[in-house]
Protein backbone atom coordinates (compact mmCIF):
# COMPACT_ATOMS: atom_id res chain seq x y z
CA UNK A 1 0.00 0.00 0.00
CA UNK A 2 1.09 3.58 -0.66
CA UNK A 3 1.45 5.95 2.27
CA UNK A 4 2.51 9.54 2.89
CA UNK A 5 5.74 9.26 4.89
CA UNK A 6 5.72 11.86 7.69
CA UNK A 7 8.74 12.15 10.00
CA UNK A 8 9.19 14.26 13.14
CA UNK A 9 10.13 14.45 16.78
CA UNK A 10 9.02 12.34 19.72
CA UNK A 11 10.16 12.51 23.34
CA UNK A 12 11.65 9.00 23.14
CA UNK A 13 13.64 10.01 20.06
CA UNK A 14 14.83 13.16 21.82
CA UNK A 15 15.91 11.25 24.92
CA UNK A 16 17.97 8.91 22.76
CA UNK A 17 19.51 11.84 20.89
CA UNK A 18 22.66 12.07 22.96
CA UNK A 19 23.12 8.32 23.25
CA UNK A 20 22.45 7.22 19.72
CA UNK A 21 24.44 4.03 19.99
CA UNK A 22 22.00 2.73 22.60
CA UNK A 23 19.21 0.24 21.89
CA UNK A 24 16.68 2.76 23.30
CA UNK A 25 17.41 5.11 20.43
CA UNK A 26 17.12 2.31 17.84
CA UNK A 27 13.78 1.27 19.35
CA UNK A 28 12.53 4.86 19.46
CA UNK A 29 13.37 5.65 15.85
CA UNK A 30 12.42 2.36 14.14
CA UNK A 31 8.70 2.70 14.98
CA UNK A 32 6.15 3.25 12.27
CA UNK A 33 2.96 4.81 13.64
CA UNK A 34 -0.07 3.90 11.58
CA UNK A 35 -3.82 4.32 11.75
CA UNK A 36 -5.40 1.09 13.12
CA UNK A 37 -7.73 0.85 10.10
CA UNK A 38 -4.74 0.86 7.74
CA UNK A 39 -3.18 -1.82 9.94
CA UNK A 40 -6.29 -3.96 9.41
CA UNK A 41 -6.02 -3.43 5.66
CA UNK A 42 -2.39 -4.56 5.75
CA UNK A 43 -3.31 -7.40 8.12
CA UNK A 44 -0.65 -6.51 10.70
CA UNK A 45 -0.74 -6.19 14.48
CA UNK A 46 1.20 -3.97 16.86
CA UNK A 47 4.88 -4.95 16.83
CA UNK A 48 4.75 -6.67 13.44
CA UNK A 49 7.39 -5.68 10.94
CA UNK A 50 6.90 -3.66 7.78
CA UNK A 51 9.18 -2.99 4.87
CA UNK A 52 9.08 0.63 3.71
CA UNK A 53 10.31 1.43 0.19
CA UNK A 54 11.25 4.97 -0.80
CA UNK A 55 13.36 6.62 -3.51
CA UNK A 56 16.73 5.79 -1.89
CA UNK A 57 16.02 2.25 -0.75
CA UNK A 58 14.09 0.26 1.81
CA UNK A 59 14.10 -0.24 5.56
CA UNK A 60 12.33 -2.58 7.99
CA UNK A 61 10.34 -0.93 10.83
CA UNK A 62 7.96 -2.19 13.49
CA UNK A 63 4.39 -0.95 13.41
CA UNK A 64 2.65 0.88 16.27
CA UNK A 65 -1.06 1.75 16.15
CA UNK A 66 -1.74 5.50 16.39
CA UNK A 67 -5.30 6.75 16.14
CA UNK A 68 -4.15 10.36 15.75
CA UNK A 69 -2.42 9.49 12.48
CA UNK A 70 -4.84 9.90 9.57
CA UNK A 71 -5.43 7.02 7.17
CA UNK A 72 -2.98 6.93 4.29
CA UNK A 73 -0.17 8.44 6.38
CA UNK A 74 2.51 6.93 8.57
CA UNK A 75 4.52 8.85 11.17
CA UNK A 76 8.10 7.78 11.83
CA UNK A 77 10.32 9.55 14.40
CA UNK A 78 13.17 11.32 12.65
CA UNK A 79 16.43 9.42 12.65
CA UNK A 80 18.56 6.98 10.68
CA UNK A 81 15.68 4.58 9.93
CA UNK A 82 13.36 7.19 8.43
CA UNK A 83 16.21 8.73 6.44
CA UNK A 84 17.27 5.38 5.05
CA UNK A 85 14.58 5.57 2.36
CA UNK A 86 14.83 9.28 1.51
CA UNK A 87 16.43 10.81 -1.57
CA UNK A 88 18.28 14.12 -1.81
CA UNK A 89 15.73 16.18 -3.76
CA UNK A 90 15.11 19.57 -2.11
CA UNK A 91 13.04 21.33 -4.81
CA UNK A 92 15.52 24.21 -4.80
CA UNK A 93 15.07 25.02 -1.12
CA UNK A 94 17.78 22.98 0.64
CA UNK A 95 15.08 21.04 2.49
CA UNK A 96 14.57 17.36 1.58
CA UNK A 97 11.18 15.60 1.60
CA UNK A 98 11.09 14.77 5.32
CA UNK A 99 7.31 15.04 5.43
CA UNK A 100 6.18 14.77 1.84
CA UNK A 101 7.60 11.52 0.48
CA UNK A 102 5.25 8.82 -0.81
CA UNK A 103 6.38 5.30 0.13
CA UNK A 104 5.27 1.74 -0.53
CA UNK A 105 4.66 -0.37 2.60
CA UNK A 106 4.04 -4.09 3.02
CA UNK A 107 4.32 -6.62 5.88
CA UNK A 108 7.56 -8.59 6.21
CA UNK A 109 9.09 -11.33 8.33
CA UNK A 110 12.52 -9.68 8.15
CA UNK A 111 14.15 -8.30 11.31
CA UNK A 112 14.55 -4.59 12.08
CA UNK A 113 18.26 -3.78 11.46
CA UNK A 114 20.47 -2.07 14.03
CA UNK A 115 21.63 1.53 13.48
CA UNK A 116 25.17 0.21 12.89
CA UNK A 117 23.92 -2.17 10.20
CA UNK A 118 22.18 0.72 8.47
CA UNK A 119 25.40 2.76 8.47
CA UNK A 120 27.47 -0.19 7.27
CA UNK A 121 25.04 -0.69 4.41
CA UNK A 122 25.91 2.79 3.14
CA UNK A 123 29.66 2.43 3.52
CA UNK A 124 30.30 3.16 7.21
CA UNK A 125 32.67 1.31 9.56
CA UNK A 126 31.28 0.36 12.97
CA UNK A 127 33.09 1.68 16.05
CA UNK A 128 32.85 -0.07 19.42
CA UNK A 129 34.07 1.60 22.56
CA UNK A 130 34.18 0.06 25.99
CA UNK A 131 31.49 1.65 28.18
CA UNK A 132 32.62 4.32 30.64
CA UNK A 133 32.17 3.51 34.32
Amino acid sequence: MRFLFNTGRTVAQGIGLDRKSGTEYAGATSRCMMNPVDMMDLDVESGDHLVVRGPAGEVVLSVVPAEGTPRGMVFVPLGPYANHVLGGETHGTGMPDFKTQTVEIEPTEREVPTVTELMEEIGGVAYEQGARP
Binding site: R9, D18, M73, G88, M95, F98, K99, T100, V115, Y127
Partner: protein, 432 residues
Protein backbone atom coordinates in the same frame (compact mmCIF):
# COMPACT_ATOMS: atom_id res chain seq x y z
CA UNK B 1 27.70 20.65 44.84
CA UNK B 2 24.42 22.30 43.89
CA UNK B 3 24.42 24.69 40.95
CA UNK B 4 21.44 27.00 40.48
CA UNK B 5 20.26 29.09 37.50
CA UNK B 6 22.03 26.80 35.06
CA UNK B 7 21.16 26.87 31.35
CA UNK B 8 19.96 23.67 29.69
CA UNK B 9 21.88 22.82 26.49
CA UNK B 10 19.17 20.91 24.70
CA UNK B 11 16.58 22.84 22.69
CA UNK B 12 16.05 26.43 21.61
CA UNK B 13 14.08 27.24 24.79
CA UNK B 14 17.43 27.51 26.65
CA UNK B 15 15.68 27.21 30.04
CA UNK B 16 17.86 29.17 32.46
CA UNK B 17 16.36 28.09 35.78
CA UNK B 18 17.81 24.58 35.95
CA UNK B 19 19.21 23.26 39.23
CA UNK B 20 21.96 20.65 38.98
CA UNK B 21 23.44 18.64 41.82
CA UNK B 22 26.78 16.87 41.36
CA UNK B 23 28.87 14.43 43.33
CA UNK B 24 32.43 14.51 42.04
CA UNK B 25 32.16 14.46 38.26
CA UNK B 26 28.71 12.85 38.22
CA UNK B 27 25.35 14.55 37.95
CA UNK B 28 23.05 13.05 40.59
CA UNK B 29 20.00 15.30 40.40
CA UNK B 30 18.44 17.76 37.94
CA UNK B 31 15.51 19.99 38.87
CA UNK B 32 13.25 22.12 36.66
CA UNK B 33 14.48 20.71 33.33
CA UNK B 34 12.16 18.67 31.06
CA UNK B 35 12.59 14.98 30.29
CA UNK B 36 14.90 15.76 27.39
CA UNK B 37 17.14 18.20 29.28
CA UNK B 38 17.24 16.06 32.41
CA UNK B 39 18.26 13.02 30.39
CA UNK B 40 21.02 14.91 28.58
CA UNK B 41 22.44 16.33 31.82
CA UNK B 42 22.16 13.08 33.79
CA UNK B 43 23.80 10.88 31.16
CA UNK B 44 26.43 13.33 30.01
CA UNK B 45 29.38 11.03 30.71
CA UNK B 46 27.98 8.02 28.88
CA UNK B 47 29.15 7.36 25.34
CA UNK B 48 31.67 10.21 25.42
CA UNK B 49 34.73 9.21 23.45
CA UNK B 50 37.83 8.97 25.64
CA UNK B 51 39.99 10.60 23.00
CA UNK B 52 40.21 11.11 19.23
CA UNK B 53 39.77 8.07 16.99
CA UNK B 54 40.84 7.48 13.40
CA UNK B 55 40.34 4.75 10.83
CA UNK B 56 43.29 2.34 10.95
CA UNK B 57 43.35 1.64 7.21
CA UNK B 58 42.51 -2.02 7.77
CA UNK B 59 38.76 -1.75 8.10
CA UNK B 60 38.78 -0.77 11.76
CA UNK B 61 39.52 2.05 14.18
CA UNK B 62 42.47 3.13 16.30
CA UNK B 63 43.02 5.69 19.05
CA UNK B 64 44.85 8.88 18.12
CA UNK B 65 46.26 11.90 19.91
CA UNK B 66 44.58 15.31 19.68
CA UNK B 67 47.66 16.64 17.84
CA UNK B 68 47.51 13.88 15.23
CA UNK B 69 43.75 14.24 14.72
CA UNK B 70 43.98 18.03 14.38
CA UNK B 71 46.87 17.65 11.89
CA UNK B 72 44.75 15.17 9.90
CA UNK B 73 41.68 17.44 9.93
CA UNK B 74 43.70 20.45 8.72
CA UNK B 75 45.34 18.33 6.00
CA UNK B 76 42.00 17.04 4.74
CA UNK B 77 40.57 20.56 4.54
CA UNK B 78 43.68 21.99 2.83
CA UNK B 79 43.74 19.19 0.25
CA UNK B 80 40.10 19.65 -0.68
CA UNK B 81 38.85 21.69 -3.65
CA UNK B 82 35.37 22.11 -2.20
CA UNK B 83 35.27 21.45 1.53
CA UNK B 84 31.94 21.53 3.36
CA UNK B 85 31.89 22.70 6.99
CA UNK B 86 28.56 21.57 8.39
CA UNK B 87 26.78 21.50 11.75
CA UNK B 88 27.50 24.32 14.22
CA UNK B 89 24.14 24.25 16.03
CA UNK B 90 24.99 22.45 19.28
CA UNK B 91 28.11 24.44 19.94
CA UNK B 92 29.12 27.81 21.33
CA UNK B 93 29.02 31.03 19.31
CA UNK B 94 32.76 31.44 19.71
CA UNK B 95 33.42 28.22 17.73
CA UNK B 96 30.88 29.25 15.08
CA UNK B 97 32.78 32.49 14.48
CA UNK B 98 36.08 30.65 14.00
CA UNK B 99 34.33 28.23 11.62
CA UNK B 100 33.21 31.10 9.40
CA UNK B 101 36.73 32.58 9.29
CA UNK B 102 38.18 29.19 8.42
CA UNK B 103 35.58 28.54 5.68
CA UNK B 104 36.46 31.90 4.15
CA UNK B 105 40.18 31.17 4.10
CA UNK B 106 39.59 27.69 2.66
CA UNK B 107 37.15 28.92 0.01
CA UNK B 108 34.69 26.34 1.30
CA UNK B 109 31.00 26.17 2.12
CA UNK B 110 29.76 26.64 5.69
CA UNK B 111 26.24 25.56 6.54
CA UNK B 112 24.35 24.89 9.76
CA UNK B 113 21.53 22.48 10.57
CA UNK B 114 19.20 25.37 9.74
CA UNK B 115 19.13 24.14 6.15
CA UNK B 116 17.21 20.99 7.18
CA UNK B 117 15.14 22.76 9.85
CA UNK B 118 13.97 26.37 9.67
CA UNK B 119 15.96 27.34 6.55
CA UNK B 120 12.71 27.92 4.63
CA UNK B 121 11.46 30.12 7.51
CA UNK B 122 14.48 32.36 7.01
CA UNK B 123 13.82 32.49 3.25
CA UNK B 124 10.29 33.68 4.04
CA UNK B 125 11.55 36.21 6.57
CA UNK B 126 13.96 37.56 3.94
CA UNK B 127 10.95 38.06 1.64
CA UNK B 128 8.46 39.67 4.02
CA UNK B 129 10.15 40.37 7.37
CA UNK B 130 9.85 38.95 10.86
CA UNK B 131 7.20 40.29 13.25
CA UNK B 132 8.93 38.78 16.30
CA UNK B 133 9.23 39.50 19.99
CA UNK B 134 10.97 38.00 23.00
CA UNK B 135 9.40 35.08 24.84
CA UNK B 136 9.07 37.27 27.94
CA UNK B 137 6.52 39.40 26.08
CA UNK B 138 4.59 36.27 25.11
CA UNK B 139 4.64 34.94 28.66
CA UNK B 140 3.39 38.17 30.22
CA UNK B 141 0.96 39.40 27.58
CA UNK B 142 -0.26 36.77 25.12
CA UNK B 143 -3.89 35.68 25.56
CA UNK B 144 -4.12 33.71 22.30
CA UNK B 145 -1.44 31.17 21.38
CA UNK B 146 -1.23 29.36 18.05
CA UNK B 147 0.97 26.31 17.53
CA UNK B 148 0.99 25.46 13.83
CA UNK B 149 2.80 22.44 12.39
CA UNK B 150 4.65 21.76 15.61
CA UNK B 151 4.35 19.57 18.69
CA UNK B 152 5.98 21.31 21.67
CA UNK B 153 4.83 18.57 24.05
CA UNK B 154 7.35 16.26 22.41
CA UNK B 155 9.96 18.62 20.96
CA UNK B 156 10.07 21.59 23.38
CA UNK B 157 8.45 20.09 26.50
CA UNK B 158 8.78 23.20 28.71
CA UNK B 159 7.71 25.74 26.11
CA UNK B 160 4.12 25.71 27.29
CA UNK B 161 4.90 25.84 31.00
CA UNK B 162 7.56 28.55 30.74
CA UNK B 163 6.16 30.85 28.07
CA UNK B 164 2.58 30.06 27.07
CA UNK B 165 -0.38 27.94 28.23
CA UNK B 166 0.72 27.07 31.76
CA UNK B 167 2.91 30.09 32.51
CA UNK B 168 1.81 32.93 34.81
CA UNK B 169 1.58 36.23 32.95
CA UNK B 170 2.09 39.66 34.52
CA UNK B 171 -0.78 41.21 32.57
CA UNK B 172 -3.16 38.25 32.88
CA UNK B 173 -5.32 37.62 35.95
CA UNK B 174 -5.66 33.88 35.52
CA UNK B 175 -3.25 32.87 32.79
CA UNK B 176 -4.41 29.30 32.30
CA UNK B 177 -8.07 30.26 31.90
CA UNK B 178 -7.49 33.47 29.97
CA UNK B 179 -5.14 32.07 27.34
CA UNK B 180 -6.75 30.39 24.37
CA UNK B 181 -4.74 27.67 22.66
CA UNK B 182 -5.19 26.92 18.96
CA UNK B 183 -3.31 23.97 17.49
CA UNK B 184 -3.12 23.32 13.76
CA UNK B 185 -1.62 20.08 12.47
CA UNK B 186 -2.10 17.27 10.01
CA UNK B 187 -2.34 14.68 12.79
CA UNK B 188 -3.76 14.74 16.30
CA UNK B 189 -0.68 15.14 18.50
CA UNK B 190 -0.33 15.35 22.29
CA UNK B 191 -0.31 19.13 22.00
CA UNK B 192 -3.52 19.02 19.93
CA UNK B 193 -5.30 17.06 22.64
CA UNK B 194 -5.10 19.99 25.10
CA UNK B 195 -6.05 22.70 22.59
CA UNK B 196 -9.18 24.84 22.94
CA UNK B 197 -9.44 24.57 19.19
CA UNK B 198 -7.74 21.88 17.10
CA UNK B 199 -7.69 22.35 13.35
CA UNK B 200 -6.78 19.24 11.40
CA UNK B 201 -5.55 20.05 7.91
CA UNK B 202 -5.09 17.62 5.06
CA UNK B 203 -1.36 17.17 4.32
CA UNK B 204 -0.11 19.90 2.05
CA UNK B 205 -3.07 22.19 2.77
CA UNK B 206 -1.36 24.79 4.99
CA UNK B 207 -0.92 27.40 2.28
CA UNK B 208 -4.58 27.27 1.28
CA UNK B 209 -5.74 27.51 4.91
CA UNK B 210 -3.52 30.57 5.52
CA UNK B 211 -4.93 32.20 2.39
CA UNK B 212 -8.50 31.46 3.53
CA UNK B 213 -7.82 32.91 6.99
CA UNK B 214 -6.25 36.02 5.45
CA UNK B 215 -9.34 36.49 3.29
CA UNK B 216 -11.69 36.12 6.29
CA UNK B 217 -9.61 38.46 8.50
CA UNK B 218 -9.62 41.03 5.70
CA UNK B 219 -13.43 40.83 5.40
CA UNK B 220 -13.42 38.88 2.14
CA UNK B 221 -14.78 35.64 3.59
CA UNK B 222 -17.32 35.39 0.75
CA UNK B 223 -14.61 34.02 -1.56
CA UNK B 224 -13.77 31.12 0.80
CA UNK B 225 -15.34 27.77 -0.21
CA UNK B 226 -17.26 25.61 2.35
CA UNK B 227 -14.15 23.56 3.14
CA UNK B 228 -10.45 24.33 2.67
CA UNK B 229 -7.98 21.42 2.85
CA UNK B 230 -10.42 19.48 5.03
CA UNK B 231 -11.19 22.43 7.36
CA UNK B 232 -14.75 23.80 7.42
CA UNK B 233 -15.36 27.46 6.68
CA UNK B 234 -17.27 27.63 9.96
CA UNK B 235 -14.18 26.62 11.93
CA UNK B 236 -11.97 29.01 9.95
CA UNK B 237 -14.34 31.88 10.74
CA UNK B 238 -14.29 30.92 14.41
CA UNK B 239 -10.47 30.85 14.46
CA UNK B 240 -10.27 34.18 12.65
CA UNK B 241 -12.61 35.73 15.24
CA UNK B 242 -10.57 34.38 18.18
CA UNK B 243 -7.39 35.75 16.59
CA UNK B 244 -8.92 39.17 15.86
CA UNK B 245 -10.30 39.57 19.36
CA UNK B 246 -6.99 38.70 21.05
CA UNK B 247 -5.31 41.40 23.11
CA UNK B 248 -1.92 39.96 22.19
CA UNK B 249 -1.51 36.92 19.96
CA UNK B 250 1.58 34.76 19.61
CA UNK B 251 2.01 32.49 16.60
CA UNK B 252 4.52 29.65 16.92
CA UNK B 253 5.28 27.23 14.15
CA UNK B 254 7.52 24.26 13.54
CA UNK B 255 8.98 22.29 10.69
CA UNK B 256 5.46 21.11 9.84
CA UNK B 257 5.38 24.26 7.69
CA UNK B 258 8.98 24.32 6.43
CA UNK B 259 9.01 20.67 5.35
CA UNK B 260 5.49 20.55 3.88
CA UNK B 261 4.79 21.19 0.20
CA UNK B 262 5.23 24.88 -0.43
CA UNK B 263 8.12 25.08 2.07
CA UNK B 264 9.01 28.75 2.56
CA UNK B 265 5.86 29.96 0.83
CA UNK B 266 3.83 28.46 3.72
CA UNK B 267 5.85 30.52 6.18
CA UNK B 268 5.53 33.61 4.01
CA UNK B 269 1.75 33.19 4.05
CA UNK B 270 1.85 32.73 7.86
CA UNK B 271 3.80 35.98 8.25
CA UNK B 272 1.35 37.75 5.97
CA UNK B 273 -1.55 36.42 8.06
CA UNK B 274 0.15 37.88 11.14
CA UNK B 275 0.59 41.13 9.19
CA UNK B 276 -3.14 41.08 8.41
CA UNK B 277 -4.03 40.43 12.07
CA UNK B 278 -1.86 43.36 13.14
CA UNK B 279 -4.36 45.66 11.41
CA UNK B 280 -6.80 44.62 14.17
CA UNK B 281 -4.67 43.85 17.23
CA UNK B 282 -1.12 42.88 18.24
CA UNK B 283 0.28 39.62 16.86
CA UNK B 284 3.81 38.20 16.73
CA UNK B 285 5.42 35.16 15.12
CA UNK B 286 8.28 32.95 16.33
CA UNK B 287 9.74 29.79 14.76
CA UNK B 288 10.29 27.00 17.31
CA UNK B 289 14.01 26.35 16.92
CA UNK B 290 15.42 22.91 17.67
CA UNK B 291 19.12 22.80 18.64
CA UNK B 292 19.94 25.03 21.59
CA UNK B 293 22.19 27.30 19.52
CA UNK B 294 20.95 26.93 15.96
CA UNK B 295 19.69 30.50 16.18
CA UNK B 296 23.21 31.50 17.19
CA UNK B 297 24.63 29.99 14.00
CA UNK B 298 22.30 32.22 11.98
CA UNK B 299 23.27 35.28 14.03
CA UNK B 300 27.02 34.63 13.84
CA UNK B 301 26.99 33.71 10.14
CA UNK B 302 24.89 36.79 9.34
CA UNK B 303 26.98 39.33 11.16
CA UNK B 304 30.17 37.89 9.65
CA UNK B 305 29.06 37.15 6.08
CA UNK B 306 25.69 38.81 5.56
CA UNK B 307 23.96 35.44 5.16
CA UNK B 308 22.38 33.20 7.80
CA UNK B 309 23.40 29.72 6.53
CA UNK B 310 24.62 27.90 3.39
CA UNK B 311 27.41 30.42 2.76
CA UNK B 312 29.72 29.53 -0.13
CA UNK B 313 33.17 31.20 -0.24
CA UNK B 314 34.43 29.48 -3.41
CA UNK B 315 34.11 32.75 -5.34
CA UNK B 316 36.33 34.52 -2.76
CA UNK B 317 33.24 36.42 -1.63
CA UNK B 318 30.28 35.24 0.42
CA UNK B 319 27.65 33.70 -1.87
CA UNK B 320 24.31 32.30 -0.72
CA UNK B 321 21.79 30.32 -2.71
CA UNK B 322 19.76 27.76 -0.72
CA UNK B 323 18.92 24.84 -2.97
CA UNK B 324 22.44 25.06 -4.41
CA UNK B 325 24.79 25.89 -1.53
CA UNK B 326 22.84 23.95 1.14
CA UNK B 327 24.46 20.79 2.53
CA UNK B 328 21.86 18.27 1.37
CA UNK B 329 22.14 19.52 -2.20
CA UNK B 330 25.95 19.63 -2.16
CA UNK B 331 26.11 16.08 -0.81
CA UNK B 332 23.38 14.71 -3.07
CA UNK B 333 25.24 16.16 -6.09
CA UNK B 334 28.46 14.55 -4.76
CA UNK B 335 30.08 17.94 -5.01
CA UNK B 336 32.16 18.32 -1.85
CA UNK B 337 35.42 16.38 -1.58
CA UNK B 338 35.92 16.73 2.18
CA UNK B 339 33.66 17.48 5.10
CA UNK B 340 34.16 18.84 8.61
CA UNK B 341 31.14 18.21 10.83
CA UNK B 342 30.91 20.10 14.09
CA UNK B 343 28.34 19.36 16.79
CA UNK B 344 25.64 17.77 14.71
CA UNK B 345 24.63 14.34 13.50
CA UNK B 346 23.87 14.19 9.79
CA UNK B 347 24.23 10.39 9.99
CA UNK B 348 20.91 10.34 11.82
CA UNK B 349 19.23 13.28 10.12
CA UNK B 350 20.29 13.44 6.46
CA UNK B 351 18.70 11.43 3.66
CA UNK B 352 20.53 8.26 2.76
CA UNK B 353 21.61 9.58 -0.62
CA UNK B 354 23.66 12.32 1.10
CA UNK B 355 25.20 9.89 3.58
CA UNK B 356 26.45 7.60 0.83
CA UNK B 357 28.61 10.47 -0.43
CA UNK B 358 29.62 11.50 3.10
CA UNK B 359 30.95 7.97 3.71
CA UNK B 360 32.99 8.06 0.50
CA UNK B 361 34.96 11.27 1.21
CA UNK B 362 37.34 12.18 4.06
CA UNK B 363 34.97 13.35 6.78
CA UNK B 364 36.11 14.64 10.18
CA UNK B 365 33.64 14.80 13.05
CA UNK B 366 33.99 17.03 16.10
CA UNK B 367 31.47 15.70 18.61
CA UNK B 368 31.65 14.70 22.30
CA UNK B 369 29.98 11.31 21.93
CA UNK B 370 29.73 8.37 19.60
CA UNK B 371 26.87 9.17 17.23
CA UNK B 372 25.29 7.73 14.10
CA UNK B 373 27.77 9.81 12.07
CA UNK B 374 30.76 8.12 13.77
CA UNK B 375 30.81 5.07 11.43
CA UNK B 376 30.67 7.39 8.41
CA UNK B 377 33.64 9.59 9.34
CA UNK B 378 37.39 8.93 9.06
CA UNK B 379 38.35 10.75 12.26
CA UNK B 380 36.41 11.92 15.30
CA UNK B 381 37.63 14.44 17.87
CA UNK B 382 35.71 14.54 21.17
CA UNK B 383 35.16 17.89 22.86
CA UNK B 384 33.45 19.34 25.91
CA UNK B 385 29.69 19.97 25.86
CA UNK B 386 28.76 23.64 26.12
CA UNK B 387 26.58 24.17 29.18
CA UNK B 388 28.05 21.10 30.90
CA UNK B 389 31.85 21.12 30.79
CA UNK B 390 32.37 24.22 28.65
CA UNK B 391 31.01 27.75 28.93
CA UNK B 392 30.06 29.89 25.97
CA UNK B 393 27.33 31.88 24.24
CA UNK B 394 24.09 30.52 22.81
CA UNK B 395 21.03 32.25 21.33
CA UNK B 396 17.53 31.37 22.45
CA UNK B 397 14.82 30.83 19.81
CA UNK B 398 13.69 34.46 20.19
CA UNK B 399 17.19 35.79 19.48
CA UNK B 400 18.24 36.49 23.08
CA UNK B 401 21.92 35.59 23.70
CA UNK B 402 22.47 33.68 26.93
CA UNK B 403 25.75 32.80 28.61
CA UNK B 404 26.01 29.03 29.13
CA UNK B 405 27.83 28.13 32.32
CA UNK B 406 30.01 25.07 32.87
CA UNK B 407 29.74 23.00 36.05
CA UNK B 408 31.94 19.97 35.32
CA UNK B 409 35.53 19.50 34.24
CA UNK B 410 36.00 16.21 32.44
CA UNK B 411 39.27 17.26 30.82
CA UNK B 412 38.01 17.70 27.26
CA UNK B 413 39.01 20.69 25.11
CA UNK B 414 36.21 23.00 23.93
CA UNK B 415 34.93 23.16 20.35
CA UNK B 416 36.44 26.65 20.12
CA UNK B 417 39.86 25.30 21.10
CA UNK B 418 39.77 22.41 18.59
CA UNK B 419 38.39 24.49 15.69
CA UNK B 420 40.93 27.18 16.61
CA UNK B 421 43.84 24.72 16.50
CA UNK B 422 42.71 23.36 13.11
CA UNK B 423 42.38 26.95 11.88
CA UNK B 424 45.94 27.74 13.06
CA UNK B 425 47.27 24.82 10.99
CA UNK B 426 45.25 25.97 7.98
CA UNK B 427 46.65 29.50 8.37
CA UNK B 428 50.22 28.18 8.39
CA UNK B 429 49.69 26.95 4.83
CA UNK B 430 47.14 29.39 3.48
CA UNK B 431 47.98 32.83 4.81
CA UNK B 432 45.04 35.13 5.37
Amino acid sequence: MIYTDMVCPFCGCLCDDVVIETEGDRVVRVDNACTLGTHKLMTTRKDRLKGPIMRDGAGGWRDASYEEAIEYAAGVLLDADRPLLYGWSSTQGEAQGLGVSMAELLGGVIDSTTSVCHGPSILAIQEVGHPGCTLGQVKNRADVIVYWGCNPTEAHPRHMSRYTTYADGFFLQNSFRERKLIVVDIRKTETASIADEFVQIKPGGDYAVFSALRAIVRGRGAVVPPTVAGVTKEQLEKIAEICKSAKFGAFFFGVGLTMAPGRYKNVRNAIELVDELNRHTKWTLTPLRGHYNVYGSNEVFTWMTGYPYAVDFSRQIAFYNPGETTSVDILARKECDACLIVASDPGAHFPRKCLEHLASIPTVLIDPAQTVTTPLCRCQIPTAVTGIDASGTAYRMDGVPIHMKAFLDLGYPTDTEIVGRIFEKVKEVRHP
